[in-house]
Symmetry: C2
């Protein structure tokens, strides 16, 4: 049987999603815990990867079992997993469903605040009060009318294409001091959201004009974009699949 | 000149408010930072103390200066202070105003959740789903009709009286999975809120009846109460002063 596991995590203390030799990753902790509870070596395939320090409100991964899972699997995993990783749901899917290839839409949110707060410094990036969000929103709209995002892709990755269909990209004001940048696309390149946000912030501070931003997109060259925004404000928030991948658990 | 400084902090990594030899405290960090910025040895007197791991949305302390403070003092302090301490305001007060003795009301909130969340494990205590909040609210009302809280006071403190006037004590549901216990009084004894919450939770799980809870209050003996609730759900949220203590800064 194949299952989709939905989880959220605080990425602060991890070296990103992907298992790697140099540090602890979300994937490693989750695979080890599943292996322990299911008493069977279990591997998971994630819908994507998040960089070190990036969080997820919703990440999805698939794993296989020989037997149907116990009804209390989610509770048992949550008891064993560290405080900064929580399982939200586990859903039965078709045997050929794939957490990464079947995803049709992904959403990220990047949190900004102009106010120092001891309660969300892990979850928002502080910005000056004189940022021009109107101008940043104007620039962000250009992301909807372009489809090659090579300028915002980490170099030296093995990605075959840098084409993405961005369906939403906007800054939303949440309070006098708090803003969210929300972006949706069919897929994202590595480092893409942070590179876009870092470059948009230079539009907001007046260092770049809106037409500079357009030229950066059209350069299709990572050297064109500006410094990536820091990871701690970024959350993977949604991953959508076609309904057909899910099976009834009755 | 005397000032009231309003601050908030994540208490997780501190040994409480009060300066002490065995570990880093909020008071020590704030005094050292004020001393550095004001270029003058500065001591602060807090409105009370919070235990290790307890947070504050609002804590107040007073300090004295020879000269009026610079308008950018709050911003400079926030730049120098660690991420988990933030200054909210600094107000000029009468020379004889006292952060502790002049406070007329204090409010604490204790946060509970039935859901594992990677984003608030520092700020809420997880509880089972079968807690009876109705019964806990009934018991909490008994706190309003009693005035001696010796049963909920840490032993071996030098406190002269265990009398407090509790003006509010109730559980408030915030969502399907989240609750707050909110309590207001003219003063609180050491450990009082956590001892009350820990004992009320035993009413909520059925280990104690409401009349057991009443007997515990009336015993006026700390050995009567149950185990204190853990610190991480507790926030000092408000401290009120009479308007007369404040001076116009013009």
């Amino acid at each position: 049987m194949r299952y989709f596991i939905y989880l959220s995590y605080d990425g602060t203390d991890y070296h990103g999603w992907q298992r790697q030799p140099n540090g602890i990753s979300i994937q490693e902790v989750l695979e080890d815990t599943l292996t322990l509870v299911l008493r069977n070596k279990t591997e998971i395939v994630g819908a994507g990867r998040t960089d070190a320090g990036v969080h997820a409100k919703t990440m999805v991964a698939h794993f296989d079992t020989a037997e149907p899972i116990a009804v209390n699997l989610q509770a048992r995993l949550n008891n064993l997993l560290p405080k900064d990783i929580a399982i939200q749901d586990i859903k039965l899917v078709r045997d050929d469903a794939h957490a990464r290839f079947d995803a049709i839409k992904r959403q990220y949110q990047y949190f900004f605040t102009t106010k120092k707060s001891p309660f969300n410094y892990r979850f928002a990036t502080r910005i000056p009060t004189n940022i021009d969000f109107g101008k940043m929103n104007e620039a962000a709209q250009l992301l909807l009318t372009h489809d090659d995002f090579a300028s915002f892709c980490k170099v030296h990755t093995d990605v075959k294409t840098t084409l993405c269909k961005v369906t939403e990209a906007k800054f939303i004001q949440k309070s006098d001091t708090d803003w969210i940048f929300q972006i949706e696309a069919d897929r994202f390149l590595r480092n893409m959201v942070r590179a876009i946000v870092g470059t948009l912030l230079e539009v907001g501070t007046g260092k770049l004009s809106i037409s500079d931003f357009q030229q950066i997109i059209e350069a299709k060259n990572r050297c064109a974009a500006r410094q990536s925004a820091p990871p701690q404000g970024l959350f993977l928030t949604q991953i959508e699949y076609p309904l057909e991948v899910f099976l009834s658990q009755e």
